[in-house]
């Protein structure tokens, strides 16, 4: 059954044509090295293999997936056989939702900024404290070595600092910009990852099954266990 439109966010599904005459057992024997990785449990029932992963290794070719099903089926009226794969990825779903999380952080930042916006009394108090501090402040004297080497002279801080306004949050301290930027990063990462991982897993399986002419026998072995 085709995954629903929503489920395609986190489900990768496809069909790979199998070589003429290749049985289900031969197919799974070729794919088994890909499933024999740390944290992977798999079970074969006739022409179906189900696998489940727990804490897969970073270099595991199927590390993105949490569980999946591989089934050898007859392909329509032509009589050929196909490998039908359907794999579920929690990390893809989380990446899809991550922009919402970071947008939430951005709004939380804005909210906290508004709650902490200084009142007129706060600003007056801060100005008095600043004036008292400034009496103790001196502009640092530049060391003669630094002067000789041409380094810029130090200056007192705060001369360009914008004066706070009552009721206005500190726009730098409570800036939502980083959260917006990360929301964008994860949106882009999701689109790229959804395309890339679907392509990679298809290509890996095609090479193991011998249906991708680009794969050599050494590559097949290397692809099976990518360490």
């Amino acid at each position: 059954m085709q995954p629903s439109f929503l489920a395609r966010i986190w489900t990768i599904e496809g069909r790979l044509p199998l070589p003429e005459g290749q049985t289900a057992q031969e197919t799974f024997d070729r794919l088994r090295p890909m499933l024999r990785t740390s944290g992977t449990a798999h079970h074969q029932d006739g022409d179906t293999v189900q696998f489940r992963k727990t804490d897969p290794e970073a270099q595991d070719p199927l590390s993105v997936f949490d569980h999946g099903t591989l089934r050898v089926e007859t392909a329509g009226d032509a009589g050929g056989r196909v490998l039908h794969y359907r794999m579920v990825s929690r990390i893809l779903l989380l990446c899809f939702l991550a922009p919402l999380l970071f947008l939430g952080f951005s709004q939380l930042t804005v909210f906290v900024g508004r709650m902490n916006a200084p009142t007129a009394e706060d600003i007056a108090k801060a100005e008095k404290e600043q004036q008292a501090k400034e009496k103790k402040m001196v502009t640092p004297v530049q060391n003669p070595v630094d002067k000789f080497l041409g380094a810029p002279a130090p200056e007192k801080p705060g001369k360009d600092k914008p004066k706070p306004k009552a009721g206005q949050p500190d726009s730098k301290k409570y800036s939502p910009t980083p959260a917006y930027v990360f929301a964008c990063f994860f949106a882009i990462l999701y689109v790229f990852g959804r395309w890339l991982e679907a392509r990679l897993v298809r290509r890996r399986m095609a090479r193991l099954l011998g249906t991708d002419p680009a794969g050599t026998s050494e590559e097949l072995t290397a692809l099976a266990v990518s360490h």
Binding site: S38, G39, D55, P56, E57, A58, Q59, S63, V64, I91, L94, C95, A98, F102, F105, S106, L108, T109, V112, K133, K136, M137, V138, T139, P140, V141, N143, V145, D146, L149, G150, A151, P152, P154, E155, K156, P157, G158, K161, D170, K172, K173, Y174, P178, A179, F182, F185, F186, L189, F192, G193, L196, E197, H227
Partner: protein
């Protein structure tokens, strides 16, 4: 495994490690490539020192430092994609995404929490202190010396905090999850429990643009040395660099699956601090992590310190108090 004797310790009895610079592989390739990976690190360090030394006051700000940091990380990500040190540490989509999640937490929600737990006070004190008369003896020193002193004091504190994290259980709990990483990549430094980040982090973001120049220099020196701790690139660092500064090799030993090797190389920037206190190991390791290399999920990274802490408390409370038996008369 037999292991290698280093001082009083046997290193590499539980997992393979390489001890001694003479045993560490060199960069392979033509003369240009070898020269690039030999001199990249010192060149970047000196370029950044020159930049911050001569930058006009109008651009000598935290925002500039953050921009440079981001740009530099992008460059390093590119380097590690095209010139990986170990194939077993190759960056994948999943690893990059998860790492970036932790980085994103640091730039957003953790930064917000920091403003409530005293970051403000610390930042204000630092900004103010540089203009107090009683610190004039320090601020009158050559600025490079000020920068070195600041970065050394910071790294000295980091060394002892990190060493404490590996020796005292309550500090080990939040730090332990960081040691479940199984490979080193540019953003792996951010992977860990937020509690640990509160313990070690005074974020530069808290300065909101005015930073004393000496601090900017100290930050640049720190970044251009310590950033190589978590990276999948092989550098043929000059001998003096490896003697003074922390390298990828040093930090990979600290992250290795060999327990004794992890009790080494605690500093962030100046490996000579480890040399002074006898905790330095020169070399490298490829097999990293804990529990035989089990990769920890984000969920477990967030909860492990608390669940393990709770388990330990229950065990401690369940243990009967020892009673000195007195024979009945």
């Amino acid at each position: 495994m037999q292991g290698v004797r280093v001082g009083k310790r046997m290193i590499g009895t539980q997992a393979p490690v390489t001890i001694g610079w003479e045993n560490v592989p060199r960069v392979e390739g033509g003369p240009v490539k070898r020269a690039f990976f030999s001199w990249f690190q010192p060149t970047v360090l000196f370029a950044l020192i020159l930049f911050w030394y001569y930058a006009p006051n109008s651009i000598a700000k935290a925002s500039t430092a953050i921009g440079i940091g981001i740009g530099f990380r992008v460059l390093l990500l590119t380097l590690e994609f095209f010139f990986p040190k170990h194939q077993s540490w190759m960056i994948t989509w999943k690893e990059f995404t998860v790492d970036l999640f932790y980085v994103g937490l640091g730039y957003t929600i953790l930064r917000l929490v920091d403003t409530f737990i005293g970051d403000d006070v610390m930042v204000g004190a630092i900004q103010g202190a540089f203009h107090w008369e009683k610190f004039a003896w320090f601020t009158g020193l050559p600025i490079l010396l000020q920068a070195f002193i600041i970065s050394f004091i910071f790294d000295f504190g980091q060394y002892w905090m990190h060493r404490g994290m590996h020796n005292w259980y309550p500090l080990w709990l939040p730090h332990s999850v960081h040691h479940y990483i199984t490979q080193l990549n540019v953003h792996k430094g951010a992977v860990g429990n937020p509690v640990e980040l509160f313990l070690i982090g005074l974020g530069i973001g808290g300065f909101f643009d005015f930073v004393p120049r000496a601090f900017l220099l100290a930050g640049a020196i720190g970044m251009s040395i310590s950033i190589y701790q978590h990276i999948n690139v092989r550098f043929d660092s000059p001998r003096w660099w490896r003697f003074l500064f922390n390298t990828t090799g040093h930090h990979s030993l600290h992250h290795s699956q060999d327990f004794e090797a992890t009790r080494s190389n605690y500093s962030n920037t100046y490996i000579f601090i480890d040399r002074i206190f006898g905790t330095c190991l020169d070399g490298e390791a490829e097999l990293l992590g804990m529990e035989g290399g089990r990769r920890m999920s984000i969920r477990e990274q967030m909860t492990f310190p608390f669940t393990e802490g709770w388990k330990s408390i229950k065990e401690r409370l369940a243990r009967p108090a020892s009673i000195d038996a007195v024979p009945a008369e």
